[in-house]
């Protein structure tokens, strides 16, 4: 449980961080450290250089310009969960943040770290997928904006290049005709989600759902959008039976994870259950 030797540099600005990161093929970024440090101690990862971005307080913010919610990459889960602006204007992200790990993890962990790490069971990627968020990354080569869809490519792998630092997450502003909810079943010992479901449902006038975005984490190799569920929800009035029928498609086309805490058969069943609950809760918010 002692990490292999590594060099350590503290970044004093974003420019400094990307310069350090780009100077070494084998560098890793350190933000909250709650995912990286255990991997270092187990020697699963052995970077030659750690670039500590944990003091870049200029990357800790939650702003709303009316059209877009922008969140700095160093914003901690605790802030997402408790910040008044986040709770009002990014309720889905805020609700999911309350369910991450435990209070210690939420006070250390950052949204940028979670997104970059790409743990297939982390909660926030499902929310970013359901909200069609944008992920802003910087490198020595400049700025690149990724769509959440396609960003999470596999277990612990993302579309990020090795020399890129996530600086900001952008969410579309809230709309009155949308309801959202996050429902998750966690593995109690670790706090990781066995199944996590982010649901957004939109009714553009009338009683039927006109748009839906459903994303799951913990279930597949990477967080994913459940397109078959979304298709089944459009035109749906939201009766209990029709929600359950749509939710039954939660794992269509997905190779479902199995481990000692939930084999793939059980996880498949729970994916449908929690998808149903997330959709019903999202519709409930819309009605209220």
């Amino acid at each position: 449980m002692i990490p292999a030797a590594f060099d350590y540099e503290v970044a004093d600005s974003v420019a400094h961080a990307v310069q350090l990161l780009g100077s070494n093929d084998d560098a890793k970024l350190l933000a909250g450290g709650h995912s990286l440090l255990p991997l270092l101690k187990l020697r699963v990862v052995r970077p030659s250089l750690l670039v500590d971005v944990g003091r870049l307080t200029e990357l800790s913010y939650i702003r709303n310009d009316g059209e877009t919610i922008t969140i700095g990459a160093l914003t901690r889960h605790h802030d997402l969960a408790t910040d008044a602006l986040a709770r009002e204007h990014a309720p889905l992200l805020s609700a999911a943040a309350t369910q991450i790990g435990d209070p210690q993890v939420r006070h250390r962990g950052t949204i940028g770290g979670s997104v970059s790490h790409g743990d297939p069971a982390s909660d926030l990627p499902a929310v970013l997928l359901a909200l069609d968020a944008e992920i802003v990354a910087r490198s020595k080569r400049g700025e690149h904006v990724y769509g959440a869809d396609g960003f999470f490519t596999g277990a612990f792998t993302t579309a990020l290049a090795d020399d890129e630092l996530v600086t900001e997450i952008r969410l579309p502003g809230p709309r009155d005709d949308a309801g959202s909810a996050y429902a998750a079943m966690s593995q109690k010992a670790s706090g990781y989600s066995i199944v996590g479901v982010a649901a957004v449902v939109i009714k553009e006038g009338g009683s039927a759902i006109t748009k839906a975005a459903i994303a799951l984490t913990g279930v597949g190799e990477a967080p994913y959008r459940a397109r078959a569920v979304e298709t089944a929800l459009v035109g749906n009035e939201g009766t209990a039976e029709s929600i359950a029928a749509a939710a039954a498609h939660a794992t269509d086309g997905v190779t479902v994870n199995g481990d000692i805490h939930a084999d793939s058969e059980y996880r498949t069943a729970m994916a449908a259950v929690y998808t149903r609950r997330a959709i019903a809760a999202a519709l409930g918010r819309l009605a209220g």
Binding site: A189, S190, I260, Y266
Partner: protein, 108 residues
């Protein structure tokens, strides 16, 4: 006494040593082996029956873990009682959500 009851409830519902086919322990740390916290446990109401021990001059008895033996059986009996309408009469410990779900699926 609380700790003893907690230990029994944990054996019935949470704690499990899982090995793979090669005999490697898969639950070797606290992120995989669930030791319950207060959040996983009920509140307790305690009562006591006083009877002095005849085997020593002070009449004292050890009471550590007195709750452990009975709380395992009490918890498992409660789980089985809750599943009795499915005709379920037995379940291996710990009665995890997955085991309970599987027992219900098989009974249907």
């Amino acid at each position: 006494v609380h700790g003893g009851i907690a230990q029994g409830v944990a054996q019935a519902l949470y704690e499990e040593a899982v090995y793979d086919d090669d005999g490697t322990l898969l639950t070797g740390n606290l992120t995989t082996y669930l030791v319950p916290t207060a959040a996983e446990l009920p509140s307790y109401e305690l009562d006591r029956e006083v009877s002095a021990s005849p085997t020593n001059p002070m009449g004292v008895k050890g009471v550590g873990e007195t709750g452990t033996i009975a709380s395992v059986a009490a918890t498992m009996n409660a789980v089985i009682d809750g599943l009795s309408h499915y005709g379920i009469t037995d379940l291996d410990m710990p009665a995890t959500p997955e085991r309970v779900w599987r027992a219900i699926e098989e009974a249907r």
